[in-house]
């Protein structure tokens, strides 16, 4: 009966999947954040605002955490018996691990790896083991060699013990096959004790049988409900202002410092681009056409001046040139349309 139920459930799941992916067309409203009359928050203001918002259910969360803390001594025992501990569940497990570190590992050598840190690599982990723990100065040709060296050292010296705490083992940087393989081999050493936390729903997909047996995991559910403050601070969310792309403020800043004619040239290009924004195959404005238009508007008098002007724009990354299929140079402004519209509106106001 149970099997049948399971089968039913399975087929249900399958159907649900196809239901979700059946129509290629998705019906959602066309509203965009731009139209929402609200300034975009940047990282700092977001942080400040969140500080103001009280954390809900603080008491209950604390109680949960205390439950988990009771397990600390058990973890220690199991780590020493050759198992490695992995924590899963909703909520940041950073504080919990930190607490484990401060309460249990004070006297022993331990290594904390912040997996959520965007520039972490396995190499840096290995380096910190060889340099800090083993006091070995020197470089290795490949992580594999380094790993071999570490394994040899640890096998030679049985008194050497190392606790490794990894926050977010499943983070972008560590989830690769190679890095997991190396970490698994590390964790399989009897003198290295590993405690890690995973958050992603598909985290177990990282491991195959061989790695699982190297890791020798014991799973512990530690749902904490505490917010992922550190973990998400590196995740550039869609809603937070992205520093990478050209923003309106920087656009106006640059243009303020230009001559009137230069501004006119940019405006012309912007207007032309906005007129064609609904045309998906719009390649940009060709240089010849653009020159013609600028001449008509008395913005430039020669090919050369326009080219000089465009070079300046290019240096400020205000425009991008692209060669079309016919070899003609096309000009584009690499800014999204809404920002461009805002810009034009503002220009009109100023004028």
């Amino acid at each position: 009966l149970a099997k049948k139920n399971k089968e039913d459930k399975m087929s249900n799941l399958v159907e649900e999947y196809f239901e979700a992916h059946s129509s290629s067309k998705v019906l959602t409203s066309d509203r965009t954040l731009q139209k929402l009359q609200k300034r975009r928050l940047n990282q700092q203001t977001l942080h400040d605002l969140l500080k103001k918002a009280p954390l809900a259910y603080a008491a209950e969360i604390k109680e949960l955490n205390q439950q988990h803390e009771c397990l600390f001594s058990k973890w220690m025992l199991q780590l020493h018996l050759g198992f490695n501990v992995v924590l899963y569940g909703l909520g940041s497990k950073r504080d919990l691990l930190e607490k484990f570190r401060t309460s249990m590992l004070q006297d022993s050598i331990h290594l904390v790896v912040n997996g959520y840190f965007p520039s972490i690599t396995v190499r840096s982990i290995l380096n910190s083991i060889t340099e800090e723990v083993l006091d070995h100065i020197g470089t290795f040709r490949s992580p594999l060699d380094q790993l071999e060296f570490i394994i040899k050292k640890f096998k030679e010296d049985s008194s050497l013990e190392l606790y490794v705490l990894i926050h977010n083992l499943d983070s972008q940087m560590l989830r690769g096959e190679r890095s997991q393989q190396i970490l698994a081999q590390l964790s399989s050493l009897p003198n290295i004790y590993l405690i890690a936390s995973v958050d992603h729903i598909n985290a177990p997909l990282m491991w195959d049988q061989a790695k699982l047996s190297l890791y020798n995991w014991l799973w512990y559910e530690t749902t904490t409900f505490s917010p992922y403050v550190e973990e998400t601070s590196y995740e550039n969310s869609l809603l937070v202002q992205q520093s990478g792309s050209l923003a309106l403020s920087s656009l106006t800043h640059v243009l303020r410092s230009l001559t009137l004619n230069a501004r006119g040239i940019f405006r012309l290009l912007a207007q032309y681009q906005l007129e064609n924004k609904d045309n998906p195959s719009y390649p940009g404005l060709s240089f010849q056409d653009f020159y013609q238009q600028c001449r008509e508007a008395f913005l430039v008098n020669s090919d050369l001046t326009l080219r000089a002007q465009l070079t300046e724009f290019k240096d400020h990354k205000l425009i991008r040139t692209k060669r079309g299929a016919d070899g003609v140079e096309y000009l584009l402004i690499p800014v999204d349309d809404s920002t461009l519209t805002d810009f034009l509106e503002k220009e009109d106001e100023d004028a």
């Binding site: 509203r31 928050l41 998400t232």
Partner: protein, 657 residues
């Protein structure tokens, strides 16, 4: 903890020795084969090992040990993860071979230094340079070595290269290596061993014809993992040697993980180990879980507190209730009396284990030959059913007894003989009578055989009589008589005996196969919390996340969170609200609409609370909270930013989860 380590050690020793034994035969075959193949081209052994990759380590280790002991070869073990390119492969190979060489011959230190330098140089050169030098090296380096050593050995020993996981090697590397080594085969006798997890077909799909024609492949099959499991269970669970036992549910969980997930004996052992750890960690009375020899000492050294613990055990309570009142009082108050009783009870438990195992095996002999296997084919199935409940109450037992009553004689006799052997080998004292009884049965059967001959004679003579009488009337009469006699035919002696035997077995079962949890003080030896085990070994992080997001009340015990399923409670944590809203969407989610829906839900609370703060600021805070929740969902992998449409995110899950 001490005991635990002892136990672990015992367990592992047992296991390793078992594995050794199971492989030894197979290995002998292989060593023989490697000796034989020495002088031809590239001999290759393909070991089909099954999908339980994790167990292969042990196999290979013992294999290389056996090969080394028989002095023939130098062995290099290559793993796919160490050999992403041919360069690494050869480097690794050289390193291992040279180390092997040093191990075996124990050269002086100077040579060692030289060797290691050699190795460094070999890898420092770029790939092309290396390729030029490798011809030199394999020509001059390894064959030299071979020659030097071969002069010392009575014959030129082959160099064995073991590819541990054939499937995960890149084909290019493998092909190159085979081609390269085939060119030097006359100077450097190589033997390749492939460890194959799937099927021998993989060789042909990995290697093109031109390469595989360079090999001379012989297939070897290893034992299937299921057989391993049954032997392990036999060795670990069905002995009285280990005082620690598994409860039914736990065993079921372990077997299920094995059969439905990974086929890995290693993992099974790991689970068993975890059970031991859990048991000795969580159960305060597990100190008493020890060999009979240590029992007395330990019972006597129990503290008052521990005695109280014993009194609190549910099985002990049952025991106390069944006693007379004076005894009850003594048991509940006097520690000394308690200790005495406990000791007796534990000894009983021990005896029970011993008897249990042998009777179980007997029953297994009977049931495993029945058609359709009503009680299961393997002894572990039988063990599970016996542990779970009173086995004689199950329908399957009923049907198997009925089937047993229809057994023919020769089967029955062999079975009985097997049973006798089992009882003889078991150390339990109570079986003297049983053995006698069974032997008696056997002799009766032998007698029966003799009688059967006579009976046959009788029937033959009656038929002769029949033939004699030619009178029609008489014939009819006798025929009728015969018919009648057949109908109301008395059971033959054999059948009677058969019933008797079956009944006797039945009674044995009833006496000795009482499920463990009906025994007093079974908590000490049995580990029964399957949920813990399942949680640790076979965790479901997705389900945990789902329940936490869907129903935060499971974790946060706040009355406000108690809701009736489906609806979106506005008092839940932000991330739960966002999650529930996202569940209602299709494949793509518009961020603006999502934000608006979120703020409506949250505002319902906020509005009821206070409208003091300026709406703008509240708005901003809500916006910020939304951002946090969405980026948390992104971190958890429920959504990802999508480029299909501006300000949309794609859902990565479907349905309700």
């Amino acid at each position: 903890q001490q005991i635990q380590e002892d136990l672990n050690k015992q367990l592992f020793d047992n296991l390793v020795s078992f594995l050794r034994r199971s492989h030894s035969e197979f290995q002998e075959k292989k060593t023989e084969w490697t000796c034989r193949m020495k002088s031809r081209e590239i001999p290759t052994a393909a070991l089909v090992l099954g999908v339980n990759v994790t167990d292969h380590d042990l196999t290979f280790r013992s294999l290389s040990e056996v090969l080394q002991n028989n002095i023939t070869p130098y062995i290099a073990l290559l793993e796919a993860k160490d050999c992403p390119g041919i360069k690494n492969l050869v480097q690794k190979l050289m390193g291992q071979l040279m180390n092997c060489y040093i191990d075996v011959d124990s050269l002086e230190d100077e040579d060692y230094v030289q060797v290691s330098q050699n190795r460094v140089r070999c890898s420092m050169t770029s790939l092309i340079n290396w390729y030029k030098s490798v011809t030199k090296k394999t020509d001059s380096g390894t064959p030299n070595k071979k020659r030097t050593s071969s002069s010392r050995h009575w014959q030129s020993p082959p160099v064995v290269v073991i590819f541990k996981d054939m499937e995960s090697f890149t084909t290019k590397v493998l092909q190159d290596f085979i081609v390269i080594s085939s060119q030097h085969i006359c100077e450097l006798p190589l033997v390749l061993i492939f460890g194959i997890a799937t099927s021998p077909m993989i060789i042909h799909s990995l290697l093109p014809h031109s390469v595989s024609s360079l090999l001379c492949i012989e297939l070897f099959q290893s034992l299937s993992c299921k057989e391993h499991l049954s032997t392990v269970i036999d060795k670990l669970l069905l002995t009285a040697k280990f005082p620690f036992k598994l409860g039914e549910k736990v065993l079921q969980v372990l077997i299920n993980i094995f059969l439905y997930h990974d086929f890995s004996v290693q993992n099974f052992i790991k689970g068993f180990q975890l059970c031991i750890v859990e048991h000795f960690y969580s159960q305060p009375l597990s100190v008493l879980c020890c060999q009979l020899v240590d029992l007395k000492k330990r019972v006597n050294s129990l503290s008052h507190h521990q005695c109280e613990n014993i009194r609190r055990l549910p099985s002990f309570r049952r025991y106390v209730e069944s006693q007379v009142s004076e005894n009850q009082i003594a048991l509940l108050t006097a520690d000394d009396f308690l200790k005495e009783t406990v000791q007796k009870l534990l000894e009983d438990l021990h005896v029970y284990h011993e008897n249990y195992v042998s009777v179980l095996r007997c029953l297994h002999i009977f049931t495993s030959s029945l058609p359709k296997y009503p009680l299961g084919k393997q002894i572990r199935d039988l063990h599970c059913t016996c542990l779970e409940n009173q086995v004689w109450e199950t329908k399957e037992y009923e049907s198997s007894l009925q089937l047993a009553r229809m057994l023919n004689k020769s089967d029955l006799v062999t079975m009985l003989q097997q049973c006798v052997e089992i009882f003889l080998s078991s150390s339990g004292k109570e079986f003297d009578k049983t053995i006698e009884k069974l032997k008696e049965f056997l002799t009766q059967f032998q007698k029966l055989e003799a009688e059967a001959f006579q009976e046959q004679d009788v029937s033959v003579s009656s038929q002769k009589e029949l033939q004699k009488k030619t009178d029609l009337y008489h014939l009819q009469k006798t025929l009728l008589e015969l018919k009648e006699s057949r109908r109301s035919k008395k059971l033959t002696k054999f059948e009677m005996l058969r019933f008797e035997v079956v009944d006797y077995i039945d009674s044995l079962v009833r006496n000795y196969l009482v499920p463990a949890h009906h025994k007093t003080l079974h908590e000490i030896a049995y580990f029964n919390t399957a949920s813990v085990l399942r949680g640790h070994l076979n965790a479901a992080p997705r389900i945990a996340l789902h329940t936490a997001l869907n129903n935060p009340y499971c974790y946060l015990k706040n009355q406000a969170l108690q809701s009736d399923g489906g609806s979106i409670s506005n008092k839940a944590p932000d991330i739960c609200i966002v999650y529930k809203l996202h569940l209602e969407c299709g494949r793509l989610i518009n961020l603006v609409d999502w934000l608006e829906a979120f703020s409506t839900v949250v505002m319902a609370v906020e509005g009821s609370n206070a409208e003091a703060a300026s709406s703008d600021e509240v708005d901003d805070i809500i916006h910020a909270r939304f951002i946090r929740a969405v980026s948390e969902l992104e971190l958890l992998g429920f959504i990802k930013p999508s480029k299909q449409k501006t300000d949309h995110v794609a859902r990565l899950t479907w349905g309700g989860c």
